[in-house]
């Protein structure tokens, strides 16, 4: 049974069709990659899936339930979390507070206005676990705005994972990360828990082909090809459309 399914998903901005009838499904436990040339509508699709944008037409199904009309925060509660292509962090908070937010929220303590943050052991334990797992311990009291970019990218993923999603959408996690910090990030992505389904959007072909067990190619807002990495790599049309464009660039 697929964990995520879209049926005829469509998004128009005025006369522009950003997402054109996308019907795709992501299997439970999969490492699914979504690739496509610039402007293919990858980020629009992610925004539709997570509820930032409302589709013009079509349906989104998460674990068998229609979530098309749900606001973003309720999709998170149903087990879908995401990272952003451009960091969307709380620059004035520390990583500790940032992770604390997500953990408190997930445990249903977010509207608790009487207790202090972190007076519950389960909260502090989980914050500490997450921070250690993402090797943020040494910077956990540093204001996020002043963290090195690579650490911010790690925090971006840590924050999504602190929501304990069943489905994690990674929007170009390696984008702009300098070479020196890159290995740590790639190792983190590879080591993501196996029970978390991952939908990865990425430009980095090395990462895509080493990570994914299934690849969908998006072109001009529509689903172009979908298959196993070997199949996609062999596909002449993909080479023409996608890799060709890469070579031109």
């Amino acid at each position: 049974m697929p964990i995520l399914e879209t049926i005829g998903l469509e998004k128009r901005f005025g006369g522009i069709i950003a997402t054109n009838g996308v019907s795709m499904s992501v299997e439970k436990g999969a490492r699914h990659a979504l690739i496509g040339p610039n402007g293919a509508g990858k980020t629009t699709l992610i925004n539709l899936l997570t509820g930032v944008l409302r589709p013009t037409a079509g349906t989104i199904i998460l674990e068998g339930r229609d979530i098309t009309a749900l606001p973003p925060h309720q999709r998170v509660r149903r087990g879908m979390a995401r990272t952003f292509q451009i960091n969307q962090l709380f620059v004035d908070l520390t990583p500790l507070e940032t992770i604390g937010l997500a953990v408190s929220e997930r445990l249903g303590l977010g509207s608790d206005w009487w207790r202090l943050v972190g007076t519950k052991d389960e909260v502090t334990r989980e914050i500490a676990e997450t921070i250690e797992r993402f090797r943020l311990t040494d910077v956990m009291h540093t204001r996020t705005a002043t963290l090195p970019y690579g650490k911010q990218r790690l925090l971006e993923i840590a924050l999504a994972l602190a929501c304990r999603p069943q489905l994690l959408l990674l929007d170009e996690p390696a984008a702009g990360v300098p070479e020196a910090e890159r290995q740590e990030l790639l190792a983190t992505i590879t080591a993501l828990p196996a029970d978390v389904t991952v939908l990865l959007i990425e430009h980095d072909m090395d990462l895509v082909f080493s990570f994914a067990d299934r690849i969908s190619v998006l072109v001009n807002g529509g689903l172009f090809v979908e298959g196993k990495p070997e199949e996609v790599a062999r596909d002449a049309r993909v080479k023409a459309v996608y890799l060709g464009e890469e070579l031109d660039a």
Binding site: G51, P71, Q88, E105, S111, A128, L159
Partner: protein, 346 residues
């Protein structure tokens, strides 16, 4: 072996602890009852203004909602407190004050839906509009509110039937201070809670806040309601301590003054409204005694200087004091990050 978990919980436990400076601040505030017995009236006005500013700081400094209509809550509760006292509906002042706050909170809840959408500019106009509408209603129904003459014949009963409001303002001042302190405790509790932290995340990045499961709108409604309630308590307090209420409780000046107070004192650390109110009131009083006609000129001048010098530099001047507080072991009271965050939005 100290693990990261211990470190985390130790840090979080320290986060909400009272620092020596905070304790000293409140000890001094209550000491003013004995220190300056001749200044009760202006000190009482300051306490009311401080509470009012605290209510705005909760939405502006923590949730990033800018408002130019905080007077709506202040005025509504002010008239409510006056009317229930005048007609003897609720005589006991403390209970009446709580009811006034609840009425204002009700208005906050209803109007919160208007500020959920839109940018800062929209919010300024909408909040201003609400206070203007209420002011006009109060003006129209002058048979109830007394119109331009103000609400006459308000007789405030003794607090708990024991403490009568005296001519010198002694009871009024002590009463106002206690109310201010209790409201401050509530606000302090709220901003250090998970709820308060989520507000700061919404202020910083509402998109991401939604993406980690925070119901952004619901949180904003909650804090706007609470803020309205506290502004209402301030309004009720003014009516009770002056036994009078006039149309200027709804005036734009009142809301605008409040923003000035927060600009002077700073937003997002709770004490900004309190310190700002003290500076503003005493500056006003001092300048007015020097040049009764031109005091507004000098207030304006001081504001321009503050903005030109910049909040950052003022923070620089206080850095030494903050370092000292840190060395006393109560860390993270006035964190620079939060101060900087609050001074500008976007």
């Amino acid at each position: 072996m100290p693990s990261a978990a211990d470190d985390v919980s130790a840090f979080l436990a320290r986060r909400g602890r009272w620092s020596p400076l905070e304790i000293a601040f409140w000890v001094f505030v209550f000491a003013t009852i004995w220190l300056f017995p001749g200044k009760y009236l202006i000190m009482k006005d300051t306490a009311v203004l401080a509470l009012f500013a605290l209510s705005l700081d909760l939405i502006l400094g923590y949730a990033g909602i800018i408002s130019l209509g905080q007077a709506a809550f202040f005025g509504l509760a002010g008239y409510f407190a006056g009317l229930i006292a005048k007609y003897g509906i609720i005589n006991e002042p403390v209970f009446a004050l709580i009811c006034s706050g609840l009425v204002a909170a009700g208005l906050g809840f209803i109007t919160s839906f208007l500020v959920l959408r839109g940018s800062d500019l929209t919010r300024i106009m909408v909040t201003l509009g609400v206070s203007l509408i209420l002011g006009e209603i109060a003006n129209r129904y002058s048979n109830v509110t007394g119109g331009a003459d103000g609400l006459q014949g308000v007789d405030i009963a003794p607090i708990f039937g024991l403490f009568r409001f005296d001519l010198y303002g002694h009871t009024g001042y002590v009463y106002s201070l206690i109310v201010l302190f209790l409201c401050f405790l509530l606000a302090r509790r709220v901003v250090y809670s998970p709820f308060g932290l989520s507000l700061r995340s919404i202020k910083g990045n509402p998109l991401r806040a939604g993406a980690i499961g925070i119901p952004v709108n619901r949180r904003l409604i909650a804090i706007y309601t609470l803020s309205g309630g506290l502004a209402g308590v301030a309004g009720g307090l003014l009516t009770q301590t002056t036994a009078f209420c006039s149309l200027d409780v709804f005036s734009l000046d009142r809301s605008a003054d409040l923003l000035l107070v927060l600009i002077i004192g700073g937003t997002g650390y709770l004490y900004g409204g309190l310190i700002g109110a003290v500076i503003y009131k005493f500056l006003q009083d001092w300048i007015a005694s020097l040049t009764p006609q031109y005091w507004q000129f000098w207030i304006g001048f001081v504001l321009v200087v503050i903005v030109l010098v910049g909040r950052e530099r003022v923070e620089g001047w206080t850095a030494a004091a903050r370092a000292w507080i840190v060395s006393l072991g109560a860390r993270r009271f006035a964190r620079p990050a939060r101060l900087r965050a609050s001074s500008e939005r976007r």
